[in-house]
Amino acid sequence: MAVVMTLALGRNYGLGILRVLEENSSLVLSEGTIYPILNRLRQDGLVDSAWVESELGHPRRYYVLTAKGRERAVEMANTWLQLAAGLERLARPVLGRKDDNHDGSH
């Protein structure tokens, strides 16, 4: 899901995706895991890829979401936000109760 979300921000390549995730979230990803995932997403028709020469002098394989991939990204985002909202409703009273306990002890 994190890879699809990153590609929803724009085209990127394996190491670039890892960097975006490291910089924008607390996700720590195994470097060897991302390439088989990108390969599977490509086989499933969710991403397309193209080799582009980089400024460093070696080619990079860039990935971009297809129309199907963009649809899947929207579905994933909606599912995640619903899940997060549900968990937030459960978590908020826990914090409130903790604050009450703190107040009561003083």
Binding site: S30, G32, P36, W51
Partner: protein, 198 residues
């Protein structure tokens, strides 16, 4: 490219031998580009870059497992599906259970169909028997007494039941393999203190 990099890529290429040349070379080139960029842009030693990628055999296994599950989930060949489940049986208890389920399902289906064709040759020994020991479908061993219920209809019934076993097993394996792959990836991600990424 350094010696360790070339050795790593050679191991990766060898472990991806089951793929087409185009697929394999694209994967190798992508990993080569990753190693080059990691080491040149951040100055990371090659040994550390390779360590972060994990063993070449493990990386190839992830690619191969993905390809195998993808082909298996589209295939209707019991032999291919059984091979795919055998491959996943080594990855954990869920894989092992699915392999045994597939093995038993296909073995039952095949045994019933074989017994259907043997029925005309051994009409007294093959059938659906009801007796003091309960019901037995197929060829009872060392059994005395009992009554055979189906007679010549055994052939048709056994073929239908055998086909039903083969079809049900195929459908179950095709449905379960992708779930197995997802759960395996999740478990691996958790082990590596990572998250599900796709």
């Amino acid at each position: 490219m350094t010696g360790p990099t070339n050795q790593y890529l050679a191991e990766l290429r060898a472990a991806l031998a089951g793929m087409t040349i185009t697929e394999r070379e694209e994967i190798v080139e992508e990993i080569r580009a990753h190693i080059e960029e990691r080491s040149t842009s951040s100055g990371m030693p090659i040994e550390e870059v390779l360590r972060r990628l994990g063993p070449a055999a493990g990386l190839a296994r992830d690619y191969n497992n993905g390809a195998l599950v993808r082909r298996a989930s589209r295939s209707r060949s019991p032999w291919f599906l059984l091979r795919a489940t055998y491959h996943w049986a080594w990855t954990g208890i869920h894989g092992l259970v699915i392999f045994f389920m597939a093995f038993i399902g296909y073995a039952m289906g095949a045994a019933l169909i074989v017994s259907a064709f043997l029925k005309p040759l051994f009409p007294e020994n093959i059938g659906f028997w009801i007796g003091p020991d309960g019901a037995v479908f197929g060829m009872p061993s060392g059994r005395q007494g009992g009554r055979e219920l189906l007679g010549p209809w055994y052939t048709q019934v056994a073929i239908l039941l055998g086909l039903a076993f083969l079809i049900a097993t195929t459908m179950a394996v095709r449905a379960l393999l992708p779930k197995l792959k997802r759960s395996h990836r999740l478990a691996r991600a958790n082990t590596e203190n990572a998250v599900p990424m796709a």
